[in-house]
């Protein structure tokens, strides 16, 4: 390992990225519940208040609309607030401020007011938690013009993407797969040049079927591809990374080659990202498709009690099942 490179978790990558961003620009603020002394319930902001002070790492009253609404005001004053929503299921009290204000103020003001706000949301399931702690709210935000929505899937992306999101002059909903926070380590080279934020990436090349995933399901898709390769099937895996805008280039390239696609996400299938991807792929690759785009996701039920969550969440077997189905079309 070189001087610049080290093995880090996603939690560490995000923490380091936040620190970098705060060092680079004194206008960057961190706000949220328990982000100060505690460093957040997931410790993503660990140590930041100690080093940057209470004026820049702000523990807020327990009110999500208040957090996002005051962040809007700070952005108007020239700050770049990075808001932490404690868990996905608690973003909804702030929903009005997000979709009616954060998303629309740039448009409303004809571009005179910028909204460089990042709203970090630990999302997805699989951590054995109680209700409201395992939601996947991305489709609702992606449906809202004016917001940009991204999801990281690994430590290195976490490090770069959070910095890029903070540097972005548009509001970014930044989704972090919470079950990955402390799961795997990856080598980070801080001297590398990251890809642009709003791009998708082929993370495993293949010929037979295209798997589209983001956030927590990238790992699932990679495992499925690995397993399938044992059976002589070659799956291409794309980490979407950006959900709004979608980066359709790599997706269409891939599907034009494979003729088959399966989208995998934890969000409910009905009106989830898979619906949009299926619609766009079909429209743009109509004559290339050997089978309809299939979707594997959370069922159209509320998130279940945790002792059954692994059945609810899309897993390797359900992905492979969909791969089988698309291949037998």
């Amino acid at each position: 390992m070189s001087e610049q490179s080290q093995k880090i978790t996603l939690a560490k990558g995000l923490n380091m990225g936040l620190r970098q961003a705060m060092e680079a620009d004194s206008k960057v603020l961190v706000m949220g519940e328990d982000v100060g002394k505690l460093g957040g319930v997931f410790r993503i902001t660990d140590g930041l208040q100690k080093d940057f002070g209470e004026d820049r790492v702000i523990d807020s009253p327990l009110a999500e609309s208040g957090i996002v609404g005051t962040a809007v005001g700070m952005a108007m004053r020239g700050y770049r607030p990075v808001v932490e929503i404690q868990f996905d299921g608690f973003v909804y009290p702030a929903y009005d401020q997000i979709v009616c204000q954060v998303a629309k103020i740039h448009f409303r003001s004809k571009g005179r007011i910028k909204m460089p706000i990042v709203i970090r949301i630990p999302f997805g399931g699989g951590i054995g938690a109680v209700e409201h702690h395992s939601e996947s709210p991305e489709a609702q935000f992606a449906h809202t013009p004016g917001l940009k929505v991204v999801a990281c899937s690994n430590p290195v992306d976490g490090y770069w993407m959070i910095q890029q999101a903070i540097a972005c002059d548009d509001p970014v909903i930044f989704l972090e797969p919470k079950r990955q926070y402390h799961a795997d380590k990856a080598e980070l080279d801080e001297t590398a040049t990251p890809e642009p934020l709003f791009t998708s990436r082929v993370v495993r090349p293949g010929q037979d079927v295209t798997l589209l995933a983001y956030g927590p399901t990238v790992k699932t898709a990679m495992k499925a591809a690995e397993a399938a390769s044992g059976e002589g099937r070659s799956l291409e895996v794309i980490d979407l990374r950006t959900l709004s805008p979608l980066d359709m280039g790599p997706v269409l390239d891939s599907v034009r080659r494979t003729g088959r696609a399966v989208v995998v996400h934890e969000a409910h299938v009905n009106l989830g990202m898979g619906a949009e991807l299926a619609a766009r792929i079909t429209e743009q690759c109509f004559y290339n498709l050997e089978a309809p785009v299939l979707r594997v996701g959370g069922f159209d039920t509320p998130y279940p009690a945790s002792r059954i969550e692994e059945e609810w969440l899309p897993d390797l077997d359900r992905v492979l099942d969909a791969v089988d189905r698309t291949l037998s079309f």
């Binding site: 004026d55 009253p61 004053r77 009005d96 009616c100």
Partner: protein, 398 residues
């Protein structure tokens, strides 16, 4: 296992704890009716100057004439815009008739470095900020959502979602704190924010959260509530059963009720509240007790829900006539002055009538502008497709 209900303490005889304080009747008394004894006033409806132990102030004749002129001009903006709506030039207009003093009093108390977060009805404050009233009409005509630069006037865009702007105001004020623009003692530097909202808005979670954040961080923000007694058809009693300004006390900062039809009192109280904020003393709640003399907007029909008698009784408290009476009685303005102001108002009216028609309509492709600071390929594609589609009509659309 034993049954947990076994150990229930036997119910004691009911007790109607006097410890909870005074009776409902006492607390929720009639102070709603005429503003009550807590109403701060410096100029009576009859135009007599009265004094107040805490908020008294001297005004120069020039200031008084200035208030008068402001209010006349603001009223003209309002009546002219109402007429423009009737003539189909505006889609809708949010009237402020009767609220001129509240808005001019608050607006004139501001320093240039202060920042205003308005609702959709703050035409009078906009006037005081030097905003060309024509700029206000675009939103109501439907050509834009507000076409002024908030930073140029330190006057934010109109906000339609009730109460949302009170949180923006609080956050902006927190930004001022971080900029070192509070409590330095330098009058050119110290700044405050004023957040406007209505009596109805006081029921929104956002507004109450704004109180909490402002108190928690001691943010330099004045919560300026125009209690015009109505939220569309709902009377103030639906939102609160005690005088509204007292809401602030529960959040740990001061609240006062000022006669919102008295421009002098509103000015005095608001500037004191702003100064507290600039000095780093934190938030204040100012309830400007006034009345919506007109309809909620031009699409509303208040005869369905309120008595004309109420409106009549408020006419006697008109904000403009009391200043006029005071000026005349004390010989502070002559008829030349009044004629001049009337003429100015007529000029403004004419300018609005002409100007509104000249407001440029948006063009179809403008739809795609400014959605993002850095637009996306997706949106560029939608733009281009739509452009091609429009072209296919041989210029009939675009």
């Amino acid at each position: 296992m034993s049954d947990p209900t076994d150990s229930a303490a036997a119910p004691a005889p009911p007790q109607t704890g006097s410890g909870f304080g005074p009776d409902l009747a006492e607390v929720f008394g009639p102070s709603q009716q005429d503003g009550g004894p807590e109403l701060i006033q410096l100029l009576t409806p009859e135009g007599e100057r009265v004094h107040h132990p805490d908020f008294d102030m001297e005004f120069t004749p020039e200031q008084l004439r200035g208030f008068y002129r402001d209010m006349v001009m603001v009223r003209r903006i309002d009546t002219e815009s109402t007429a423009l709506q009737r003539h189909g030039e505006l889609g809708i207009w949010a009237q402020l008739l009767g609220q001129e003093a509240a808005q001019v009093g608050a607006g004139r108390a501001l320093r240039p470095q202060d920042f205003v977060f308005p609702t959709y009805r703050e035409h009078g404050v906009a006037w005081c900020r030097g905003l060309d009233p024509l700029k206000l009409l675009g939103l109501f005509r439907g050509v834009d959502h507000g076409d002024w630069d908030p930073e140029e006037y330190n006057f934010g865009l109109y906000t339609i979602v009730i109460g949302a702007q009170t949180l923006h105001a609080t956050g902006y004020a927190m930004g001022m704190q971080r900029d070192g623009a509070v409590g330095t003692g330098d009058p050119e530097r110290d700044a405050a924010v004023i957040a406007h909202f209505g009596d109805g808005a006081s029921s929104q979670g956002d507004v109450n959260e704004a109180f909490i954040f402002a108190a928690s961080y001691n943010a330099p923000v004045v919560f300026f509530c125009q209690n015009n007694q109505w939220a569309i058809s709902e009377p103030i009693e639906r939102q609160t059963r005690i005088p509204l300004y007292q809401r602030a006390l529960g959040f740990g900062f001061p609240g006062v009720r000022v006669d919102g039809n008295d421009v002098l009192a509103t000015y005095a109280v608001t500037q004191a509240a702003l100064q507290r904020a600039r000095d780093g003393q934190g938030p204040t709640f100012v309830e400007a007790y006034t009345y919506r003399m007109g309809a909620h907007t031009t699409t509303d029909d208040p005869t369905r829900y309120r008595l004309s008698g109420d409106v009549e009784s408020w006419k006697l408290k008109d904000p403009i006539s009391r200043v006029e009476a005071y000026l005349r009685r004390n010989g502070l303005a002559d008829s030349a002055f009044f004629g001049e102001v009337a003429g100015e108002a007529d000029d403004l009216g004419a300018r609005l009538r002409d100007g509104v028609k000249a407001l440029p309509d948006p063009r179809p492709l403008d739809i795609f502008d400014a959605v993002y600071d850095e637009t996306t390929d997706e949106l560029r594609e939608q733009h281009d497709e739509f452009a091609a589609y429009l072209d296919s009509f041989e210029g009939s659309h675009a």
